[in-house]
Point group: C2
Chain length 293, copies 2
């Protein structure tokens, strides 16, 4: 978001005391996510970005119902990006689909208007995500609504491996080989791989490497990038945001330094360390807050 929208004020909350969400139940995730969202609204947020796949998949509607501000999650932008990068058969014909609107969930999580392909084979999108995200089938719903086939694969060990710092490690490669072999066995027609968890982009090189050894290259889509572009489009609809690689660079085009307030519910030190790794710039001033529990 920083390079795309450097003129915004950012309020970031890491609910580190109650993480991980990805292994918990719908009810607990929704309660935690709504209380986190309410905190951000109380701090003055005009727009809420749910930058967590699990919270989006399981609590998007709860959060939307609880807050009077626009809410953008990562699932629908990820599905849209998968559509844009998935090669559709040129022989497909198109027809309007009157049932399609009902299949979509409300709010800003709506796909752009697109013709509806008929006559499969449709290309399959393979989604890697946490157990809770997969069980919610939010990605399958969002991807099916775009008339693509989806297959979801829960990868519970990937977050712990990233948090252990083993992003470039033979054990991670072996775990990826196992998960991806299982997933590709179940979804052999997959052309696109959607990274449906915040942690997975940190092992994208390992994922590419593993796909190469399996002789099964896939186009890799990162929900986070797609979401940042969706937020930029929402705030500045007249700028036609083109996908570029510059999203990972620091904001240099503006003299204005984005104002960022960081909040965490557990250990400031760990948040500073991991947060700096994820953001690619030092995270120094972090405020410890208590959301109960």
């Amino acid at each position: 978001l920083l390079p795309l929208i450097p003129d915004a004020r950012y309020i970031y909350l890491g609910d580190t005391a109650r993480l991980p969400y990805g292994s918990k139940s719908h009810e607990t995730i929704a309660r935690y996510a709504v209380s986190s969202a309410r905190f951000l609204h109380e701090q003055g947020a005009d727009l809420l970005v749910i930058a967590c796949n699990t919270a989006t998949a399981l609590a998007f509607e709860d959060i939307q119902a609880a807050l009077p501000i626009p809410v953008i999650g990562v699932v629908e932008p990820g599905a849209q990006a998968a559509l844009q990068s998935t090669p559709l058969s040129k022989t497909l014909s198109f027809r309007p689909d009157p049932e399609r609107a009902q299949r979509l969930e409300g709010g800003l999580e709506k796909p752009a208007s697109l013709p509806t392909p008929v006559d499969p084979p449709l290309n399959q999108v393979l989604v890697l995500a946490t157990a809770a995200t997969v069980q919610s089938h939010a990605y399958t719903r969002a991807i099916n609504a775009l008339n693509l086939d989806a297959h979801e694969k829960a990868c519970p060990l990937l977050v712990p491996l990233v948090e252990e710092g083993w992003t470039n490690h033979p054990v991670t490669d072996e775990v990826l080989r196992i998960y991806l072999t299982e997933a590709l066995g179940e979804a052999p027609n997959a052309k696109t791989l959607l990274l449906g968890c915040t942690h997975y982009p940190l092992i994208e090189p390992a994922i590419r490497r593993t796909l190469a050894t399996l002789n099964h290259p896939l186009t890799i889509i990162d929900s986070a990038e797609a979401t940042a572009r969706a937020v930029a489009t929402h705030l500045h609809p007249d700028n036609n945001q083109q996908p570029t690689n510059s999203i990972h660079q620091q904001p240099t085009t503006s003299n204005q330094q984005p104002e960022i307030a960081f909040y965490a519910t557990d250990s400031i030190e760990k948040f500073q360390r991991l947060g700096s790794n994820f953001l690619g710039q030092p995270v120094t001033e972090v405020n410890l807050i208590d959301l109960g529990g």
Copy 2:
């Protein structure tokens, strides 16, 4: 506990909504552990067993201060069991150690009176535990107080591997090989290996296998077993509880079926599934409670 004390009424709480504790800060762990302990006291508990290494290591004193009932944790029984199984050099002489009492923390977590060996080399106890347990150095304090040397090794991936069900899996063997090679490099004189986390006994066969391939056999001690015996001794001090293998068997010596009430703060279904695996008998009736958060 069930085979050792079949005549007790058990109230068990799994704080599943806020787990894992092992990757969090002292303050958060203490807050969660004290609120969990208070709940059990409110349900009528006469004795509290902290059956979690992280909660014992970081919140034993907080829990003890918060409750008017006896509290038994897993750290001191584990250290005691390590002492009993660690071969001491026959050439050691003994002297009283006046500073020893100060090094011990209060309450029931006190070692039995023992002569104090002088003249190292002392045999080293290697402790595998979560990051938070290791950072607390509670095991090192408890083991040093018994005049044994301790070396602690954080193993953050082992809990996720057990929860993934990969208890007998080449990836787990490889992760153990890495962790144990590092640990034995730092503690080459270790004779005893203490499993300082509830999940690790489920991969004890893999740990034995890995130690064999490293050509470094160690006596393996399970804090949970030692704690069960400490609880039995506390409740029935006249019975001389001998260590036996029968601790893993179902209670068959009494006609009285132990009464167990299970509580969890998240998903009943997951608690039933994992709980049955850990307990070795079906966990059916589980009550969902909300401890806030």
